[in-house]
Amino acid sequence: MPLRKKLIRTILEKKAQFLSAWLLIVMSSIVFYSFTSAGANLIDNLDYFNKTNRVEDAHFIVEKPLADLSQFEERFQVKIEKRYRADVSFSTDTTLRLLDETGKINLSSVVKGEALDSEEDILIDQGFAKAHELSIGEDIQLNDKTYHVTGFMAIPDYIYPLKEESGFLKNPDAFGVAVVKESELENLKENLVYYSVRFSENNRGQFKAFLNQNNQLINWTDKKDNNRISFIRGDIEGIKKMGEFLPIAILFISIAIILILLWRLMKKEYSQIGTLYALGYKKSEIIRHYLSYASILAISGSVVGTFLGWLFLHPLLSAFASYYNLPVLVVEPHIVLLIVSLMLPLVFFIPLTYYLVMRVLRITPVSLIKGGELKVKVNRLERLLKLDKLTFKRKFVIREIIRNLPRALFLTIGAIFATVLLLFGFISKNSMEYLVTDNFNSVYHYEYNYIYSSLQTTLPDSGQIGSSAPFTINYKNEKQSLTINGLEPNNTAIQLQDIDGERLKYDSVIINKSLADKIGLQKGDTIHVTNQLSNTTFDITIDHIANSYLGDMIYMPLNQFNQLNGYPSGSYNQVFTNKELDISKENLVSVTKSSDTVDGFKQMIKPLNYGIAGIALVAAIISVIIIYILISLLIEENSFKISLMKVIGYNRGSIRKMMIGYNIWFIIIGFLIGIPITTLSISAFMNSITAEMNVSFPVKIDWFSIIISFSILILSYYISLWLNNKKLKSIPMTEAINRSTE
């Protein structure tokens, strides 16, 4: 069919423009399919792993060991399993947490190697093994005993292997988990006994109350408050949201570019369209021909993009799964996502292209044959401006801009989009750095935090005392978890400041910014809280909001804390100190080192730098594509004018300045608008993914990042100019003469 040949030849003639637009569609499909299906596959694998390996609903510590678990199981229709754990030193500053091999809840899966066979066997989490270059079959020395590494394992309550369940940065260099036979842990004097529980009915409250009747609940952690289990969901949400937002944005940009390309193409082919009419072609045949341009780009782009997305899915999944200790058991193509990925560009393109073609076909065939009416509109804005006093060149440029406002607007939007992408990575990194280096270091002024397994009344040898307990608050018909800390008024281990930088003392009730933002609390608000361990409830009024983002925290005077909770006066359950204390491990629930958290952050930030470089590269490519296409169209549209300027005697530099040079201002405007848009959208994005996590993200940006992003954008602009230089050069002077004689 001749029209099909025309289609292919036209695409080949304008291959640079079409290829650029096609690349955007491919990129959009790659990101959409790889991210959304990675998210869906991770959820599948997580759900499958949690179900088959029976993840706990909660775990708790009680003052006295539970003697008969079966009576609880029968009475409350629950499954309970006694668990042992012991932190042993693997090397200097490195702790390996030994867990016992469970039979009912939190079953470990052997990812590689063999299951435990004897008491000398040990299964290690993959991240720790990788960080310490441990291999299967190797022997390791722990507590003067040699263990034989039989394999690597994953366990549902340590998918994200955090030392503390309220922590937020894992550090496989300093901490890991391993599974050994129960008998091994029974014999270790530093072991800690706790219980994992799975509910089949909604009777958590009664269960806790029953525990407190003859015993004392010291610690209770629900699955959703356990970052080792819950963090992964927030991250998967982030991946999925990224997989939805980014490709749709790229797709919109590519739609706009392709529509501009087609509009320009049809304008150039007016007389051909009119001729086709005169030859007897139906409107539908002409529409189909022009729709084919969009369809070919959309279909081929989405097929190639989806295929590449499928290829990217596997490394993305394994990177994510190895970051979290999650075995990837199944990888499904997710047919719905596959179809959406293949169809999405087409669904967007066809109606818009159809609308565009119909607009052209509204012109009468006779006008089309004549090439359409030439309109040089003098718009109202142009009439309003008094340009008489300006130099010719300046007047010329201003008129060019005013007469092509939609193009200028699109270039600005393109620059905004590229800016958002560029800054996204930088802002994420800056915000993370602020969260830890600025915020963490300025708030936490201790090295060790010892948490006791029961309330203490005699003062420690050194350090500052405090108490904490998990609480809930009803927010939007759901229970929001938080931690309330009781501190002595002159505590200096945790130093909080309000938003104005004013140091806060612990003689009042202070809420941190993370929690205040999450549930919309202001100074003076009163909230009703419930102690998760004892079910004690009371009201507290917020006196101050602290500029801290780590965890969802409330701080109050220790005396008031004890009094409201019914704890003995002067009692405490944690100590903050700068030097290591000699406390028997069986009396402790945990010991946290601040330096481990900072190291964990450094560990985590490393791959982020590669991510930022990757995002910056994608942003640069996108901005080069957008600017290249728009400038090449500008040159094509103005080839007559350019040719005429060459005939008159303007040199290439002047022509470039007058016809193209002004576009840099739209890039700059786009960049400036892009900065606040990025901070606002990142803030919304982060809030949506951290809604379920007990951390919030302060959005911070520094000048260095702004300068780097701006330089990349400007460099992209000059690359686009350089790419278009050949086009500008190739416009012959004869064009002006030939066209004016036609």
Binding site: A278, L279, G280, V366
Partner: protein, 234 residues
């Protein structure tokens, strides 16, 4: 001879902003089958408007345009498309070829959509473009491009060949060649030809010469001394 085109009192006006322009005013015309009719007139006389209305690419405000006794002003969209497809061949002043299709493909463009096309190669031979089938328009001279345009119109064996200034962009020798070709088509395929031009010389080859001025027919004269295209004095 029976009439193939019968135009009865057609009117056509254009409005652009505040200005109003009467392109055709009460024009009536009859063209017999197999005739070559030349419509003469200066720019703005309404000759192109009349040709476009006969070719159904433009509408008239009132009046009838009967082609083979069928009033095309009453046709629906589908009938109009079929009419353009099967009955009409257009030849344009600027050839209007598709630049990225070869000679063969430009002709195929029409052959593909009509019900009874001539063999493409036969038409290429008839217009003297043998051996140039794979050339693109930019590789052809103006005259050769107009030959392709004629071949594209003729391949569908139209009843009526509408030529809009077919020699307007050509030199005199090439113009003669093109007119020769049109004459040949008229004779070989018994195609009725309507040529609009401002070039008086072309009228020498016509059976009838119609003159339009200011949207009205000024004269409609039977040519008693028809010359062959070859014999036209330019």
């Amino acid at each position: 001879m029976s009439s193939i085109v019968k135009i009865e009192a057609i009117n056509k006006s254009y409005q652009s902003g505040n200005s109003f322009f009467q392109a055709l005013s009460n024009v009536s015309l009859q063209v017999e089958k197999g005739e070559i009719v030349v419509v003469l007139g200066p720019s703005g006389s309404g000759k192109s408007t009349m040709l476009n209305a006969i070719g159904a690419i433009d509408e008239v405000d009132s009046g009838k345009i009967c082609i083979d006794q069928q009033d095309i002003t009453q046709f629906n969209n589908h009938q109009l498309v079929n009419y353009r497809r099967e009955e009409i061949g257009f030849v344009f002043q600027m050839y209007n070829l598709i630049p990225n299709l070869t000679v063969y493909e430009n002709i195929e463009l029409t052959a593909n959509i009509c019900s009874n096309p001539l063999p493409i190669q036969e038409v290429i031979d008839a217009v003297g473009l043998n051996g140039m089938e794979d050339r693109f328009p930019r590789e052809l001279s103006g005259g050769q491009q107009q030959r392709v345009s004629i071949a594209r119109a003729v391949v569908k064996t139209p009843k009526l060949l509408l030529c809009d200034e077919p020699t307007g962009a050509l030199d005199s020798n090439t113009s003669k060649e093109i007119l020769n070709l049109i004459e040949k088509i008229n004779k070989e395929y018994n195609t009725t030809v309507l040529i609009i031009t401002h070039n008086q010389a072309i009228s020498e080859m016509a059976n009838r010469v119609v003159t339009l001025k200011d949207g009205k027919i000024e004269s409609d004269v039977v040519n008693e001394h028809i010359k062959s295209a070859e014999g036209i004095e330019w």
